[in-house]
């Protein structure tokens, strides 16, 4: 298995780390996967104003783990799935919005084709984008508030069209301009829709930034320790100094599910991260996450991710 660890200050660092893992010389802007490891490429384009685009279409003949480490910079990452793979094994292509100060793990199976487009926009370029408009400030506040931002949308016809304009672009005199323009359109549309979501008749638009901040602080305490039973709702809402019903509404709005369902999901996310890091034994994982029995853990894991990881049995620490 190949493991690639990187922080996303820039995609150049990502390419450097892949080159290292594949034992090839690091060349600027492109990695061609050597036949010994598979085939395909990762290609990077840089644009004015702190904008980078990575186009990739790669198949590895071994399992590969991409491990995005947290970094301090809050760069925005747009990940666009390859829409032409819709329907393969029930795959639904999405556009995801993510931040570089967040951990992110992706596991690729043997011979799995990975293709898509990632766009990185530096924090300062985003401030420029939001400017001084009222809506811009509101969106920016939201983004700053949600440290674990993870927003997604289905790849609809419009996104798909722009995806293909970028992904299938032939190299000619105008390619750079075309790709830059598509990135501008994607960014503009994502935030237009994002804004619609946070304003309008939704709770997030009705509640103050203070309320949202307190819920966020309560969430941090709530998910700090998974070895204990989750805190009951009335205690949680007290932490955030609001009624239980108001807390529930805001919580669901920010995190997408009610508190206890969210807790369970986060617990399993942590389980996956621990397994993937291959630094913990099963006993340690069960302890850390407050499970008494392996069978209970296994079924909880399967409920969340569908399949208990095969990789885990290969590890020496995993008995």
């Amino acid at each position: 298995m190949i493991t690639i660890e990187y922080g996303l200050a820039t995609y150049d660092n990502f390419l450097k780390q892949i080159s290292k893992a594949l034992k090839i010389k690091h060349s600027k802007n492109i990695v061609n996967i050597p036949p010994a490891y598979g085939n395909g490429f990762f290609k990077m384009l840089t644009f004015p104003g702190g904008i980078e685009c990575m186009i990739f279409n790669a198949t590895f003949n071994t399992e590969v783990q991409f491990h995005q480490k947290k970094i301090r910079d809050e760069n925005l990452i747009f990940r666009l799935d390859d829409a032409s793979k819709a329907g393969e094994n029930g795959f639904t292509p999405e556009l995801q919005l993510n931040k570089s100060n967040r951990k992110w793990i992706f596991m690729g199976a043997k011979f799995q084709r990975m293709s898509g487009i990632n766009i990185l926009i530096r924090q300062d370029a985003m401030s420029h984008f939001f400017g001084s408009s009222e809506a811009g400030i509101q969106i920016n506040n939201h983004l700053n508030l949600l440290t674990s931002l993870f927003y997604n949308e289905p790849m609809d016809a419009e996104y798909k069209k722009w995806f293909h304009d970028i992904f299938d672009a032939q190299e000619d005199d105008f390619t750079r301009f075309i790709i830059y323009n598509r990135i501008m359109l994607i960014r503009e549309r994502v935030f237009r829709r994002f804004y619609k979501k946070i304003s309008g008749n939704l709770p997030a638009g009705k509640f103050s930034i203070d309320d949202l901040t307190r819920v966020k602080e309560a969430e941090a305490i709530f998910t700090k320790d998974f070895s204990e039973q989750p805190m009951p709702l009335n205690k949680l809402s007290k932490l955030a100094a609001m009624s239980a019903s108001k807390f529930k509404i805001i919580f669901k709005e920010i995190y997408g599910s009610p508190p206890h369902k969210y807790f369970a999901k986060q617990r399993m996310n942590k389980a996956r991260a621990m397994i993937l890091s291959s630094q913990y034994s099963l006993t340690e994982i069960l302890d850390e996450l407050g499970f008494d029995k392996k069978s209970a853990f296994k079924s909880a894991y399967e409920n969340t991710f569908g399949m208990f990881p095969e990789i885990s049995t290969e590890k020496s620490t995993w008995k």
């Binding site: 501008m184 995190y255 599910s257």
Partner: protein
């Protein structure tokens, strides 16, 4: 009324126009006073020092906007003008002069600061316009200087020899409409205009580049044939609430036989006449729906359908979704955060 200017920011041009009418602009925008006419002219200073002026207005008197030449050749200006001419006589009047060469309505012009241009807007005529000003450094970020050089020299050569080089078609019109009509609805207006303005530039660059290889320029069509064709197209798409003009009256307007007209139309606009009409009509319907202020029934009527079922079917044929499903997909958003 004649207004002269040679400013690098459209903000100043808007102010000059307002002053000429004894009024004044606010934050780059002027809402025409009842004495001057109706509608608005506004300007936007965008990132990368791109300046934009949008117009959707009707003057009560004839107005000429004259840009005086200036030695700085590093600034470029793109004009997109579409007037809704009232009668036959007005349709034959040029809307735009580049040096002394006339361009007919609707017109696209590309010029730099050294070239003087004049826009003539007759009284009581609605004008739709997008004006874009940029420095060559902006384009050099994306295009090799020699590529842009080639574009400029070829474009100017044709333009200054009286050719209507690029002309407004369904694609340009859709983007223009979006910018002019929707920018206020958008939460981050600057960015909305910016991304669309770049699309207009891209379309112009690529479309002209293609024409250098093939298309009407290579076909050696006479200048007046191009002009006639542009007029016929404008007539075809001017009002969707009325039945479409037939081929025989359009071909008469274009001064050619119906057969030749059909062939030439396809060369120019890429589609057969009726398909092109229908595409524009549906695009117009979609823009109306997007504004969110008309019902599906109203939009159907506005684009000339009395039978709502027929409208829905035509819409689906063009965009793959029924109008109600399209509206829903525009509004449907997934939860904000998913862990």
């Amino acid at each position: 009324m004649e207004i002269k200017f040679n400013d690098r920011r459209f903000e100043l041009v808007v102010e000059k126009i307002a002053r000429a009418f004894g009024s004044s602009s606010t934050e780059g925008e002027w809402l025409l006073t009842p004495e001057a006419g109706s509608g608005f002219i506004n300007s936007w200073q965008l990132q990368d020092d791109i300046s934009v002026m949008l117009m959707n207005c009707t003057f009560n008197m004839d107005v000429q906007l004259k840009r005086k030449p200036n030695l700085n050749q590093q600034f470029f200006i793109l004009h997109f003008y579409e007037l809704s001419a009232k009668d036959e006589a007005q349709k034959k009047e040029p809307v735009f002069y580049i040096q002394s060469q006339p361009l007919l309505n609707p017109a696209i012009s590309f010029s730099n600061f050294a070239i003087n241009t004049t826009v003539r807007i007759p009284a009581n005529t609605n004008v739709h316009a997008v004006n874009i000003l940029f420095h060559q450094n902006f384009i050099h970020q994306f295009l090799e200087p020699h590529v842009f050089e080639k574009f400029i020299s070829n474009y100017y050569y044709r333009e200054l020899h009286g050719e209507q080089v690029e002309y407004i078609d369904a694609g340009y019109r859709a983007i223009m409409d979006e910018i002019i009509k929707e920018h206020r609805l958008h939460p981050i207006t600057n960015q909305f205009i910016y991304s669309r303005v770049l699309l207009l530039m891209e379309k112009l660059l690529i479309s002209f580049h293609e024409k250098l290889k093939t298309g009407p320029l290579a076909l050696k069509i006479k200048v007046e044939e191009v002009n006639n064709m542009i007029q016929a197209e404008a007539e075809l798409v001017k009002d969707f609430s009325e039945p479409a003009s037939n081929i025989s009256s359009l071909s008469r307007m274009a001064g050619m036989s119906p057969t030749k007209f059909k062939i030439q139309f396809r060369n120019f606009y890429g589609l057969p006449v009726f398909e092109y009409y229908q595409k524009n009509r549906m695009q117009h319907a979609k823009n109306l729906l997007k504004q969110g202020i008309y019902s599906i029934q109203e939009v159907g009527n506005m684009v000339g359908y009395t039978n709502l079922g027929h409208f829905a079917a035509a819409f689906k044929k063009e965009f793959g979704l029924l109008p109600k499903d399209w509206i829903q997909s525009e509004n449907k958003l997934k939860p904000l955060i998913k862990e």
